[in-house]
Amino acid sequence: MMRMKLGIALVALAALSAPAMAQDLTKDMKKGTPDLKSAGPLAFAPEGVLLVGDPIGGAIFALATEDTKGSPDSVKLDVPAIDEKVAAALGTSPNDILINDLSVNPASGTAYLSMSRGKGPSATPVIVTVDGTGKIAELSLKSIAFSKATLPNPANPGEGKNNQRAEAITDLAYAEGRVIVAGLSNEEFSSNLRSIPFPFKAADPGSAVEIFHGAHGRFETKSPVRTFAIYGVGKQPNVLAAYTCTPLVRFPLSDLKPGTKVRGTTVAELGNRNRPLDIIIYQSGGKDYALMANSSRGVMKIQLENMEKIPGITEKINDKAGAAYETIASLKGVDQLDRLNKDNAVILVRDGGPLNLKTIPLP
């Protein structure tokens, strides 16, 4: 539901410079047991570092999975009834678990699922891996190298039971030495996109940038981000974001500076009765595309070529104005989406029955 993954472009970039920065991201991590209160959105940074959003604990964890080798190009992930199998491994029933996010480690092609065993606030967070053979295992959080960034909570500490403010983490990604976190408060209508330097430093919790939306060049509102992806090869990286109020917008990653007010350029109006769930970026025929899973409009393939040249939508428009996209209607019921390798994506899809983990060719 939540999430996004970092664009393959940036993974590729990181891979190219890997020898110089090997161990750089994990060398300051300490071994121990991360005190995860919940396991929400996931994203991979280079070197097999798994970023885990913990909305209940109000923190982002970076875990050194040591899963850094493999042949992701030859991996195919297909596990029918994954919810039933994972629930059985956790010793419970499928209606007593939540699968919160899916992320594929680009280094190995192994899928990681953030889950909870139980559905209440004291449910146990679990991270489960699924490899190319279909083997389901738990990512052990005992004696793992990790680091943690605590998200500031403006609620008055010491207010006891009155301190009920919390922030849902709607998505996160790694890009260019920073972890970008989109959140939504359960009280004030906020629109913070937090940018935290990575590796995490205790002294620098990052900065929050407020994101705004301008409708028809007239009405301006705060606009929380529901899901986002980062794209851009050999040029300015951009954030492609779906707002909670529906429009798909773009803004340069470099705009995320403390004290700035970011106003996304609307590149597509995705229409009514539709809820974006997840976006990934990929390349086909030398061009960048975004693939977006939606609640009711199937999966959309959006052309990113020359998107920075598309004029922002500022006037009342028809249903399909803005960036060109096509809808792959056959892909219905997609809950989660991530890129597996250059030709394939992995989806969690429900087709009336149980939840299936499937590999699909990138369109």
Partner: protein, 350 residues
């Protein structure tokens, strides 16, 4: 959490009356302190949920000449487990279910905010309070907004997978879809606002909504209300009436607002500071449909100039904060921005 060994052993034996496959004896496979213990060290021990071939996460080791399975997560009451031990041609098999713990009283809806029965067309959120923690990923199937004819309003709320719970899982924030509130956006242009001035609606909370233990609510809940004109004005502290308490008393300090404010934020966005600049200890009560804020001090009021420090993030029912309206009309920017994060409102106990 470990289940009491005694209770678990009783249940284990009770269900062992359903033997499967080859000969078995209830004394040979046992449940001890939440672990499965086989009679010997030589053999293969497999523990699964019944009717699944996926082994449970856990550790298998040998202790005192016996194979022991320690599950990664405690066995759950109500789930049927299947244990097989195969040792040199001998097969032992057991199924068991741990008994459910004693039931606590059913969970109930304890409050819905805003408390008013006349709400603005651009209402931004409801807060639903429950007496015990609730299950996640259920909310949007369990809450409906019905129009005056009893017909459900289509997709009125912002549905996000994470859902907006507090940490205790007892309060849900139900945001209206901002695309249906903000002017100039497709959802509103196509379907109109979720709420329309002059009409009546009912928020319905389904009794089948499972709490964190998977049990339905004690009963459903309905909140009927009518819709009045949209509220595009920011809360204005200049219009607030501060009712100072008496020096030496423990009387409440009260503020009367000119409109209903956000119930949740009222609990954290106003603090009382004494003449020395130190926060005054006490508790907050909200009344009269969120138009009255009272602070009951822990000790008697001291003399001297006190102040209320108000976080300008504080919103009204339509998401207009003291700092900023929900929607800024950039063509006619008549609204004001305070600029400050904290406002100081002085008062002196009488």
């Amino acid at each position: 959490m470990n289940f009491p060994a005694r209770a678990a052993a009783i249940a284990f034996i009770a269900v062992a009356a359903v033997p499967q496959g080859c000969a078995s004896s209830s004394t040979e496979l046992t449940l001890e302190d939440g672990r499965i213990v086989a009679p010997s060290a030589d053999g293969v021990l497999k523990v699964t949920v019944a009717r699944s071939d996926v082994p449970l996460f856990g550790e298998i080791r040998t202790e005192n000449g016996r194979r022991v399975f320690e599950p990664r997560f405690p066995f759950k009451p109500g789930v049927e487990y299947h244990v097989v031990f195969e040792s040199s041609g001998r097969r032992l098999e057991k199924r068991f279910i741990l008994p459910a713990p004693a039931a606590s009283p059913p969970t109930a809806v304890t409050a819905v905010f805003p408390g008013r029965d006349a709400l603005p067309e651009n209402l931004l959120k409801f807060y639903l309070h429950f007496s015990a923690p609730m299950s996640r990923r259920e909310a949007y199937q369990r809450v409906r907004l019905l129009d005056g004819a009893g017909k459900p309003v289509e997709l009125p709320f912002l549905e996000i997978g994470e859902e907006l719970w507090d940490r205790s899982g007892t309060r849900l924030t139900l945001l209206f879809d901002p695309g249906r509130i903000k002017r100039g956006l497709k959802p509103r242009e196509d379907s109109g606002p979720a709420l329309e001035e002059g009409k009546s609606y009912t928020l319905v909370i389904d009794a089948e909504w499972p709490d964190a233990q998977g049990r339905p609510l004690r009963e459903g809940h309905r909140k009927p209300f009518k819709v009045v004109a949209p509220d595009e004005r920011q809360p204005d502290p200049k219009k607030w009436k501060i009712l100072p308490p008496k020096v030496g008393s423990k009387e409440p300090l009260a503020i009367q607002f000119e409109e209903s404010l956000d119930e949740a934020m009222l609990h954290r966005s106003i603090i009382v500071v004494d003449a020395a600049g130190a926060p005054v200890e006490g508790r907050i009560e909200i009344a009269l449909q969120e138009t009255l804020w009272s602070f009951i001090p822990a000790g008697p009021w001291k003399p001297g100039a006190h102040s209320l420090q108000v976080d300008t993030v504080l919103e009204d029912m339509a998401g207009n904060s003291i700092d900023r309206p929900f929607e800024v009309d950039v063509v006619r920017p008549v609204e004001k921005s305070i600029g400050a994060k904290v406002l100081r409102l002085p008062f002196t106990p009488k």
